[in-house]
């Protein structure tokens, strides 16, 4: 039996499939998906239309789910989790007695996006990143946009993520944010909007790849029939992007991945990308700067480094330029960068463009540099630094989501409708004390997608994080990380707050060309 047949056989001999379950309309007991259990609620549901019809692009997966028994699904979920554990896609929990490894919760039901919708998203992401790179080039250069009063000067120059040191530095291709992961959400009307941009050191791409790997093994037949666009080129697209940042006179540039080390929660991803790119995974202590050149310590002596894909925050990359107490960085690295002898990706200081307050201006930024309307809209945002908007926010705290400008990862935020009166009052005090530090947005009912929860298929809120690479060109990988708020009703998808992830299938149109670097 060849592999193809083996895959087929596996699908057909599945114990969950019985003749009756295929024809019986009366929700046979034990089936994991029933209309009764799956109540989409007011949010847009990825699988069901409002009238309860299954959307066309979900029909194959839906059929598969209705024909698999809860036991069969649970088995597959277990296999999936075990494979993640074995691969070491884990984070470590340090207890009093023992340390244990835990996987980030992963849901086996794929999230599916049809090609026309993806085309729209892709165009929007490319437009957005192009504009944000131009914005960064401008504010670290002539600052025309500030002089024209499009974005308030103090908002940009006063942001903690603004790096004076980057002023007038040459950045190849003006590509400041080489790797960008933007968070998109789908509101009640079903339209995608950008919730935030991540231009610093966005993570999660290894989950996109690992989830895909798992989905292929979990639903092989359905996957093959669905005509899903591949995500597997991400590592080599990333490598090409990084190499395109090296100067021309370095013909075979040495690329390395800089990690804070094995205790970092994203360490698995750093090692994974290094392995798939074939680039050394280095820590700060492996690098040496000598006469403004960066070298890594190898067994055979020092070897010159040209491009550093750094997964260390700005603050920690160079104790001589940024935080002095950092042991993760490399002394003198920033001067080597300034001298043009090494390239850091992403460039330091990109965080100012994903600042939560600057975010509110992104549609104007796009308009200013490109003369176009934003393809992907923003979420309506209130800047608490403006007195009028602050009083609106204070009056409507029970309806809004309030976020601290400098925080991320779902920390320092208030989800008004889910908070108690006391929590809102405490937060209001913090808000009044430092209004410039906060923004507010309406509470959006994120769209829901089917997830396997305790043996049943139930709707859970999801977002979408695609990954955009920019070097000589801007390329979007046809895939994304779909993050899931696994707690019923929760709108917070961050993994630090009980979130999980699932594979995202971007369906292909016939004759589509996969992006080339």
């Amino acid at each position: 039996m060849n592999r193809e047949e083996a895959v087929q056989a596996e699908e057909e001999t599945d114990p969950g499939v019985t003749a009756t379950s295929l024809v019986n309309d009366d929700n046979p007991p034990g089936l994991p998906i029933t209309q009764a259990a799956y109540i989409p609620g007011q949010a847009f549901d990825e699988m069901y239309e409002a009238a309860g019809e299954v959307r066309d692009h979900y029909s194959a997966v839906h059929t598969r789910l209705t024909t698999l028994s809860p036991e069969a699904l649970a088995d597959r979920q277990k296999t999936l989790e075990r494979s993640f554990l074995l691969q070491g896609i884990t984070f470590t929990v340090y207890g009093a007695e023992t340390t244990t490894e835990q996987i980030i919760p992963t849901d086996l039901v794929p999230r599916i996006i049809p090609s026309t919708e993806w085309d729209h998203i892709e165009a929007g992401l490319i437009q957005r990143l192009r504009a944000l790179n131009m914005f960064l080039d401008d504010i670290y250069g002539e600052q025309q946009i500030l002089m024209d009063g499009i974005v308030p000067r103090e908002l940009v120059l006063g942001a903690p993520s603004y790096r004076r040191e980057m002023q007038h530095l040459y950045v190849p291709h003006k590509a400041y944010a080489n790797v960008c992961g933007s968070d998109l959400i789908r509101g009640e009307d079903g339209a995608f909007a950008v919730l935030e941009d991540n231009l610093r050191v966005p993570s999660g791409v290894s989950y996109m790849l690992a989830n895909r790997d798992a989905a292929k093994r979990t639903f092989p037949g359905t996957f093959r029939a669905a005509n899903v666009r591949p995500v597997e080129r991400y590592p080599d697209l990333l490598l090409k992007t990084l190499k395109s940042m090296a100067p021309d006179w370095r013909p075979d540039p040495q690329v390395v991945v800089l990690t804070p080390g094995v205790y970092n929660s994203a360490y698995y991803e750093h090692a994974y990308l290094a392995r798939l790119m074939g680039a050394p995974l280095v820590e700060g202590r492996d690098l040496v700067v000598h006469e403004n050149m960066v070298y890594m310590r190898t067994t055979t002596g020092l070897r010159r480094v040209d491009v550093i894909y750094r997964r260390v925050d700005d603050d920690f990359i160079d104790p001589l330029t940024f935080r002095r107490d950092s042991g993760l960085g490399v002394a003198g690295l920033f001067n080597a960068y300034r001298a043009g002898n090494v390239v850091m990706c992403n460039a330091p200081g990109t965080g100012v463009a994903d600042d939560k307050a600057v975010y509110a201006y992104v549609p104007e930024i796009i308009k200013y540099y490109l003369g176009e309307d934003a393809i992907l809209p923003n979420i309506e945002t209130f800047l608490c630094r403006e007195p009028a908007q602050l009083s609106h926010v204070l009056a409507n705290l029970d309806k809004l989501v309030v976020k601290a400008v400098g925080a991320s990862g779902g920390y320092g935020m208030l989800v008004g409708p889910h908070a108690s009166r006391k929590e809102r009052e405490t937060f209001a005090e913090a808000l009044k004390a430092d209004p410039a530090n906060y923004i507010a947005q309406p509470t959006i009912q994120l769209s829901t997608a089917p997830c396997l929860i305790d043996g049943r298929i139930e709707p859970r809120h999801v977002d979408l994080r695609p990954f955009i690479l920019s070097g000589e060109k801007i390329v979007v990988t046809p895939g994304a990380l779909t993050r899931v708020a696994l707690r019923r009703g929760s709108l917070v998808v961050n993994s630090s707050q009980g979130g999980g992830s699932k594979d995202t299938w971007i369906l292909a149109d016939d004759g589509i060309e996969e992006p080339q670097p």
Binding site: L85, L86, Q87, G88, T98, T99, T100, E101, V257, G261, V262, Y267, Y268, A271, Y272, A274, R275, P280, L281, V282, E283, R285, D286, V288, H290, M293, M296, R297, T298, T299, T300, G301, L302, R303
Partner: protein, 314 residues
Amino acid sequence: MMLARVADSLYWIGRYLERAEHFSRLADVMLNATLDRSDAAAQTAYIALSAVGDPDMARAARTYEAAKSLVLDRDDPNSVVISLSLARENARQVRDQITTETWERLNLLYLRITSDNAASAFESGSSAYIHDIIADLHQFKGAADATMSHGEGWRFLMLGAYLERAQLIARLLEVCFGDGRDGNVTDRIALMSLLRMGCALEPYLRRYTAEIEPRHILEFLVFDEEFPRSIRFATTRIEEHLVGVSRHVESGGLATPERLAGRLKARLQYADVDELESVGASALLATVIGECARIHDAIFDTFVAYSLEMKLPA
């Protein structure tokens, strides 16, 4: 060319896994000996614990507890669980350098021995439990051999393993046949246990038949050219792998680790068991342990912690 830190980690993975395997075997032989006459059991346990560096007669009398703690005690720096945890920690730091097949073997082993039910699994079948650990370690070696490039990184892995092995076997023999120690081992069952600790019983029987003599054991475990756990075999591999990794180093003509390894190899090549019998085994075994320690330091100084001034471009 590889990162110095990576070479160091691979070297330590080799060392820790060899140690884990050896100590698993010691624990297994100790447990097995409890099935026989009680004085042989105590003697076997004493040999094993002395080889680990803990020659405590009181502890040796409680063989089962001693074996269990040698495998599972996290407070004992020599225990198998500690060696495996350290090997896995090192592997995680060089995850990009080892193949997935290799990593998964080690990770599985680690997850099993650190899981909450490790103690109860040991109690419900200690011999089978240890047997599985050793089998998994063999799988790791098989996966490494079959899937990793046999280049520089692999050589560092092997260097760690063979240096550790030479030292462990030398230490074991020193405990049994070193002079000036009271009661060199002569008991037949204890001698068989010794061969089992070196994983050498079956190859020994094929070579020398069932006549188990200290002289033959020494000859086999020190000088045999083909048995992979003999000291001579290990030192030959150490020299081979050092020649392999040194090819790429433009050192200042010193080549210290290579020179040390060559000398040790020659020492074992041109000595024989008669010499050992006439002057006693202690001197040679002490030389092996001491020279391995010097090679270990020299490897670190040459490949990992070299002084930067020597290597900076002019």
